[in-house]
Structures are given as C-alpha cells and as structure tokens.
C-alpha cells in the first residue's frame, strides 16, 4: 500500500489494479482521515489490515484505535468525531449488527462519520457471502446509505461521502458486495492527493470539544424538545439529494466520473424497468443490452442511494414505464425484499403507479446470473401484475 506522499502525482491520475477493499483504503488515505477504529470481520478484514499496517509502520499519520468490538469501534469514533476530527471505520454483517446502538448515537449526535459496510449475510446458518440483509437492517438508524457497483465507484464514493456527511452533519455508510467487489481486483483510477485536497476541504466541527470551555453533550432532553431534534435530522436527510448532486457534479467536473443517486440506462421510454443495486447492476447492464438488441422495450435503473430514499429521483426516471421489476438481495421475512417494498411505498401517493414486481434472489451470496435476470424480466413482461408479493428467483423447491 502507498502512503499519502506516494499518491502525490500532480497532473494526472494513475490506474492501479486493486480490490474493492484496497479501493476503500485508498479512499480513506486520500480523504486524510485522522482516526480509524475497527474490529476485524470477514470480508471487511483486509481494509483494516491495509490501513493498520500503514499506520503501524509510521507511514500514515492516522491514529488507529484498537478496540475489542464493533460496538466499541463506533463508540470510539463517536468520541473522536465529537472531538472534531475526521473518522473512519469498516465492518460487515454481525459486526454491523453489533454496532446498532451506536449507529443511532452517531446520527443523533450529528457526527459525520464515514463507515464502509461490506455486504454479508447474517447467520445462522453461518455464511460469509454477499447479501444486503446487514445494511438494510440498519435503514432506520439515521445513516445515509450509498451502494457501489464497482471498485472505482467504491474509491470515489468514500471521498464524496466525507463531503456529503460533513455538509449535512450526518454519518454515511458506503456499501459494497462481499468478495464480488471486496476481494476482486479491477483497474481503478487513483486520484492524486492534491486533487482530492482541492475537492475535500479539512473537516471543521460545529461543536468540537474544547477542554477550556467544557460543554455537556447529548444531555437528557425532555419530551418538550426531543421531537425537534428528530425533525432536524429529517430536514438534514431532505437536504441530501441536493447536496449529493452538487458533490457528485463537482466530483465529475474534477475527476471525470459521476454516479448520481439514480442512474437509468437502456431504452428510452421503455415499458419494463429493472431496478437493482450493488454488483447485480453490472450483470443487468449486459442482460438489458442483449434484450434491447432482441427488440424488447426494457431499461435498467441503478439505485446507488438507499437512504434517504430517492423517491423524487426515482419518480423522474420511471416516467412512462408500465411495470417495474426490482431484484432484492435481501429479505425482510414476512414482507419481502426491502428495495421493492420501499419503492411501492414511495409510489403510493404518486399519479403514476406502475406495478412493482418484487424478486428476491442471490441470498447468502448465490450468484445472480444473467439467466436469472432475464427470467425476472420475462416474468415481468408476461404478467400484468405479480402473482405473489414475493417472486423467488433461482429458488430450489
């Protein structure tokens, strides 16, 4: 791994073949993070390995706090962030679940912490492979959630995440798929530290701890005021679409890459839309292209931001569509896939309400193959509305 000075190449980026986890580490180094605290868990481990080795060797001047659990890792960052410094952690699955209480605290205290969650199923049965159940389980904790499709997007999203977080004063969770991204190497453009410095200004906390003027933080708040603090968090969430767009536009202007919160690809004015998140999108792009060549009226929608839920952005891109298929790599038992449920809810008060087909597939890391994706689209074309609330894709019965 390089240190910051190694990433100083004025006048140009360079491509490196790196894994998703390495891309995370590059993003953290380039974002000039002051404090890292984390506890190892597969498939997140190599992120922390890279960073802690660099720090231990003295090459990266970032403080690494060793902790005995994910709960403590987040607690430590809550302290550090309150102190006014830029913080990072990474986790997965059970580790994220273990952090749950502290996730609420970080957002409630309005701390712009950035965390990477490498999507992994939650046991039992024991499983280490890709599944979104861990991150969607934390949808109500007040964290912004951004899902990535490839390693380049992972690196870029880390840098963007700090600017978004520090603008709206809310924590951001950057999510990537286990192994498919975390442990797979791809060519990634690594920007120079000077370019990132010009994009991402140093963090300046509103209420940084000052021992000369001590204050009481997160003090008990009576029913007279509690709701107003929650209202402020909601308002901050509502600012995110605009802030994220500005950040992404600025990023694109400087680095030539932008992602948007929602990306539509494929046929204009298509009748059937396929909505995906994470790496399934990459596979879907190939399938959509193939079906378009066959003359089908299909297009894809990539959902990058899950919280705050991009209702308006989605509504804008689905105009004219007759049906929407959603592939969820997660399951809220008793309801179905979370993305499809939330999409249905967001459309309920809208004028146009195309039926949403909720497919559940790829749980516990099972591959979501081009054939399965095609099967989902065919099912959507052939049926006026889904026969069941959940349409299982690739299930052995």
């Amino acid at each position: 791994m390089p240190q910051r000075s190694d990433l100083s190449q004025r006048g140009g980026e360079m491509k490196r073949v790196i894994t998703g986890n390495q891309a995370v580490a590059y993003g953290v180094i380039l974002s000039r993070v002051d404090v890292v605290s984390a506890y190892p868990i597969t498939p997140q481990t190599t992120i922390v390995e890279e960073l802690s080795e660099l720090i231990a060797s003295g090459r990266l001047k970032t403080k690494f706090l060793k902790v005995e659990s994910e709960h403590s890792a987040m607690a430590a960052l809550i302290g550090a962030s309150t102190g006014g410094v830029r913080c990072f952690t990474a986790t997965s699955s059970h580790g994220l679940a273990y952090m749950h209480e502290m996730l609420h605290w970080a957002s409630g205290a309005r701390l712009p912490i950035v965390m990477v969650n490498v999507n992994r199923a939650i046991g039992p049965p024991w499983n280490i492979w890709s599944d979104q159940s861990d991150s969607v389980s934390q949808r109500d904790t007040g964290w912004i959630q951004l899902y990535c499709e490839n390693n380049q997007e992972v690196l870029d999203t880390i840098i963007q995440a700090y600017l978004i977080a520090e603008t709206v004063k809310l924590p951001v969770m950057v999510v990537l798929d286990a192994f498919v991204l975390s442990h797979t190497a791809e060519p990634v453009e690594v920007p120079s530290i000077e370019e990132v410095d010009a994009f991402l200004p140093p963090f300046c906390a509103d209420y940084a701890i000052d021992t000369q003027e001590p204050r009481a933080y997160s003090v008990i708040t009576t029913p007279d005021y509690f709701m107003e603090f929650r209202y402020k968090i909601q308002k901050a969430m509502e600012e995110v679409p605009e802030v994220a767009k500005k950040v992404d536009d600025e990023f694109k202007a400087r680095f030539g890459r932008g992602y948007g919160s929602i990306e539509r690809y494929g046929k204009d004015e298509a009748e059937v839309l396929l909505m995906t998140s994470g790496t399934v999108t990459s596979t879907s792009r190939i399938v959509i292209k193939k079906l378009m060549e066959k003359g089908l009226s299909v297009a894809g929608v990539k959902m990058k931001r899950f919280r705050p839920f991009p209702s308006d952005e989605i509504y804008e891109v689905i105009q004219g569509a007759k049906k929407i298929a959603v592939i969820d790599r997660n399951l809220s038992a008793g309801v179905g896939g979370i993305f499809s449920q939330e999409l249905r809810a967001s459309l309920y008060l809208r004028e146009q309400r195309p039926p949403v087909f909720g497919f559940v597939s790829g749980l516990g890391g099972r591959d979501i193959t081009p054939e399965l994706i095609e099967e989902a689209i065919q099912y959507t074309i052939e049926n006026d509305r889904p026969k069941d609330e959940i349409v299982w894709l690739g299930l052995k019965r």
């Binding site: 409630g108 309005r110 209420y207 021992t211 003027e213 001590p214 204050r215 997160s218 003090v219």
Partner: protein
C-alpha cells in the same frame, strides 16, 4: 435551538468532583532497583534523565548519592538488576552499564561536583581512603566540613586500587573520581598509618572520626604448609600487581577459593602468561564470585575444579604439591549454601609452581583503641555507624560482612549523615527517616531536601505494572574486547555504551512507581481532569471535576498513581 442537545454555555460550574468516592493521587513509589541498591542511588530518576537525553542531569542525580558512578558502573555486582521488574518480563535493565555511561559522559565534560552548604566549621578525620572512607569524605565535604583522610599506603583508593585489577577498573577512572572528591576540599594524607604514625588521641582537634580501614588480612586455609615459600595470599599478589611491583611466578598456578578475589587472581595470572587452576570446595552454584566474573574467567582459559578441598601443601621436585580431598554437597548450612562433605579416601594431588590462597579477608584490629567492641570478625557499631566512643564512627568492610564496593559507599554515606546529625545536635535516628523503601539504604538527598523527593516507601511489584504498554526488547549490554586481546594484558575488558545504545536501554526502563510523563492518564481521563503543571509532580488531578472513576490508576503503565478512598 442548536443542532444537537449540547449545553449552550460553559459547564465548568458543574463541579462533578463532588460525586467522587475515591481519589487518584500522583505518588512516586519506590522502584525495586533503588530499594536494592546498597549505595542508595536514585536509579529511576537518573534513567529518566538519560531518556530525555539530559546526560548531565543524570550525572548530577547519581552524584547526589554516590561519588563513584564510574567505579560502580564497572565493578558493582548490581543487585539492582537482580531485582529489576523488567526481569519478570524479558531481561532486566543494564543499570550498571547506564551508570557507567553517565559517569564517563560527565567526566568527559570535566564536570565537578558542587558544594551544597557553606561554613560548617567542624573538622572530621577519616581513617582509610577506600570507598567507605572516600564516600563519607565526599558527602561531608559537600556540606563544607573540614575533612582530612589518613591513608597508610602511598595511594588513595583502598581496595578499589589494591584489590580490583585494572582490566575491570582502569586506574584513570578511579583517579578522576578521587580527584572530584579532592576538588571539594578533602585533604588526603597518604603514608600515615593509624596505630603507628598517629593514634586516635592525636586527632583530638577533630570533632569526629570515621574509621574505615577495611579488611585486608588474608584469612588463610589453616592447613599445613600454607606458610611455606611458594604459597602466597591472593590479596597480597593483587596488591603487588596493582601497585606495579615486580611479581615472579612459575607457569602453573593454583588458586584456592571461589570468591571474587580468587577470580581476580586467576584472571590476572592468565594475563601474565601463566596457567591458572581454581580449586573450590563447593560447586559452581555456591561460588560467591559474581557470575559474570566466573564466565569471563572461564572464557579466558581459567580452569575451575569444583568440589575439591586442599588438605596440605607439600613440596615435590621444586614444585608445590597440594593434597586434596574430593567433596560432595550435603544439606544447606547457615549461609544457605549446600555444605561440602568430604568423600573418604578420595585423596589426590596437584603439582604446581605456586599456590595462591584467596579464601577471604579478615579485619585488622590491633590498632583499635579500647572501648570499641568486636564480634564475629567485625567491629560493632550502632545502626547509624556510631561506636561506643562519642564522636567515633566506623563503616565499610571493617563493620560488615557484606563486603562490596556498593555496601562500602552506602556505609560511608550513612556515616556522613550521622556525623552531620551529630554536629547539628539532631536525634541520631533522624537519618532513618530517609530510608529508601524499607531500607537499609539511605538517601542523603532526601535528608538534605526532604520536600523535593517525596517517595512512598512501598516497593513496586511486577504485578502492579500494566504490561499492555510494553513490548519485549532486547537488553543492551557493553561490548567486550576479544578473549585474545584480553589475555594479552590488563586492558579494560568491556566498553562504555554509546549514546544511542544507552538511550535504547534507558527506553526499556518501566520507571516503576515513578511518573515519566508518558501521558497515558492524560489521554484516558474521561473528564479531562489531568492537569499538567510545574512543580513536584508534573501532573495533578483536577479534583473539582475528577469523578474518581479510577481509569488513570488502572491504565498507568508504571503504578505512579494511587487510588485512595475519600475521607467522609
């Protein structure tokens, strides 16, 4: 309304210290090294100075307690290191090597020790210029007493000069430490023997006398043939060698004894191109010589025959014939060592050119005046070194069976404190308020500046340290010249640490019970209640806000914080 639930104003009015039921207190405790140092050196403090690269400061701290860091750093058996808590973790700190480094650094700057007090008019006579006498002279001279040392030999230094070979203690090291003492105004009158040239009655114009004549009489073997020609006393031989007198020896030499004198003799003989065999009646385990000495002797080609007891020394074809009996080890005796028991009919003979007897020394008492009590081979004194005669004090090898340089230095210092208390009309017991740990060593710095070095006598145990903060690190020792180089002559065997190595070694020190400003408490305190201040302790607890959680006490790597219950 603010963005978060944060107090609008300063919360300093909320004195959360009122919640406290226990209070952390910065309190230096006694590290085991200092407690074990017979000379009473403030080891941890001088090591802290080394860590801060303040080598002069380290020199000043050592010199508060002892005039002989150059000597002790080389020849002391360093009981401090055997007690070092780091020994329970990896290896003890090479304290002796650090002391030597500091001494050599100070003399390299031509540093001189400063006087402390002025215009004390009393005169003190000191009999004997060994480490005890010179240590006493040094401390009294720093207090500006008028000190005269009487030495029967033509040179000052006593056993340091006569008994210790120069390959262990180069003469220029000794000379510069003695000249630092003389520079304080100590007069040394050599060639004056008590009982011959002067009597105690002649010293009436001195208000106090300190007798430290040592133990120079060879104890001998009490076997037939030991008074014959060709049989020499170990100490006499060393004296001749060390005073550069002519010594003629045959090729094969037997040295009888297992102590440091025996090792010194054998190693000196080797350096004169002879073969040396040591005969010792117990096993290696029981040998009183320091381990390092034995190791180096063996490296240099000294042969040691264990469990061998000489019965008589005869004559055969111009050689000395030693008849010996083999021994085996029985039960432990009163010294705690296993007693040698003769194996019947195991007699054998060894033929050599010369036999050197080095089985210990006794005190010479013939010159001592009446009224001084002797028992079990030593002159009896009170705890403070005073004797039955008012104004007469004694110390060093003369008054103790613990005959090491460090003990002698400590004993001379104690006498200096007792004499000062005597002159100032203080209770003789006052000096024992300055014990290091539970004693027996004393701190003269404490005695003179009671407010400046407050130490809890509790000796810090390994279990009281927080090993989470330490990583194993190799002990750094002095380098030695090759055996081939060593046995060519009397060149010093080991060398002084380099600055870099000394810093590394000092960095290994746990600083047991002593704050070294590592800032762990400062970092951990959840109430930001550790204050950094000028003063006796660099850190203080802000009791207005400290809630007494005890995290500082638990985390402190070195046990420098105590936790005490609040008084209701």
């Amino acid at each position: 309304m603010p963005m978060i639930a944060v107090s609008a104003g300063d919360m300093a009015w909320n004195k959360t210290g009122a919640w406290r039921t226990q209070r952390p207190i910065y309190e230096d405790k006694t590290p085991p090294c200092s407690a074990a140092c017979p000379a009473g050196n403030d080891i941890v403090k001088f090591i802290q100075k080394i860590e801060k690269e303040d080598f002069e400061g380290a020199w000043n701290i050592i010199k508060e307690e002892s005039p002989f860091p150059g000597v002790c750093g080389r020849v002391c058996f360093h009981p401090c290191e055997s007690k070092c808590n780091r020994g329970s973790f990896d290896e003890p700190i090479a304290i002796h090597a650090l002391e030597r480094f500091v001494a050599d650094f100070g003399y390299g700057l031509n540093k001189k020790t400063a006087k402390l007090e002025e215009k004390n008019k009393e005169k003190v006579a000191i009999i004997g210029s060994g480490p005890a006498g010179m240590s006493c002279a040094y401390h009294l001279a720093r207090l500006d007493y008028d000190v005269t040392v009487f030495e029967s030999l033509p040179f000052a230094g006593g056993m340091l000069r006569l008994g210790i070979p120069s390959y262990r203690l180069p003469r220029d090291v000794l000379d510069r430490e003695l000249s630092d003492i003389e520079a304080l105004g100590v007069k040394i009158r050599t060639g004056v023997t008590l009982g011959e040239d002067i009597r105690l009655e002649d010293l009436k114009d001195h208000q106090a006398v300190f007798i430290s004549t040592g133990a120079h009489k060879s104890r001998g073997l009490q076997i037939p043939g030991e008074r014959e020609k060709g049989v020499l006393s170990g100490l006499d031989l060393l004296k001749r060698i060390n005073l550069r007198k002519k010594v003629q020896l045959g090729d094969k030499i037997a040295v009888i004894g297992g102590g440091n004198t025996a090792m010194d003799v054998a190693r000196s003989v080797i350096r004169m191109g002879k073969k040396a065999t040591v005969l010792y009646r117990r096993s290696r385990e029981e040998m009183p010589a320091f381990d390092e000495e034995i190791l180096e002797a063996l490296e240099e080609g000294v042969k040691i025959r264990y469990l061998v007891n000489p019965l008589r020394i005869g004559q055969k074809d111009g050689l000395k014939r030693i008849e010996c009996l083999r021994m085996e080890l029985g039960e432990k005796d009163e010294s705690g060592r296993r007693r040698p028991i003769p194996i019947p009919n195991s007699n054998f003979r060894i033929d050599v050119d010369h036999v050197i007897v080095a089985t210990g020394e006794e005190i010479e008492v013939s010159f001592l005046p009446e009224g001084l009590e002797k028992r079990e081979g030593i002159l009896l004194t009170r705890r403070d070194g005073s004797t039955g005669i008012k104004g007469i004090f004694a110390g060093g090898d003369l008054t103790s069976n613990q005959r090491t340089v460090a003990h002698a230095i400590g004993s001379g210092k104690k006498a200096a404190m007792a004499i000062d208390a005597f002159f100032k009309g203080k209770d003789p017991d006052v000096i024992f308020q300055n014990l290091i740990g539970e004693g027996p060593s004393l701190s003269i710095f404490n005695y003179l500046h009671p407010a400046e070095r407050v130490r809890n006598p509790h000796v810090v145990a390994f279990e009281e340290l927080n090993m989470d903060y330490f990583e194993p690190a190799k002990r750094q020792g002095e380098s030695k010249i090759s055996v081939k180089e060593r046995i060519k002559g009397f060149k010093e065997v080991s060398s002084t640490l380099s600055e870099g190595v000394a810093l590394e070694e000092a960095g290994r020190c746990f600083n047991c019970g002593t704050c070294n400003e590592c800032e762990v408490c400062y970092v951990f305190c959840p109430d930001a209640s550790i204050l950094k201040r000028e003063g006796l302790f660099s850190h203080q607890v802000d009791y207005d806000y400290c809630k007494g959680c005890g995290i500082c006490f638990t985390e402190c790597p070195r046990g420098a914080i105590s936790l005490k219950e609040e008084e209701k």
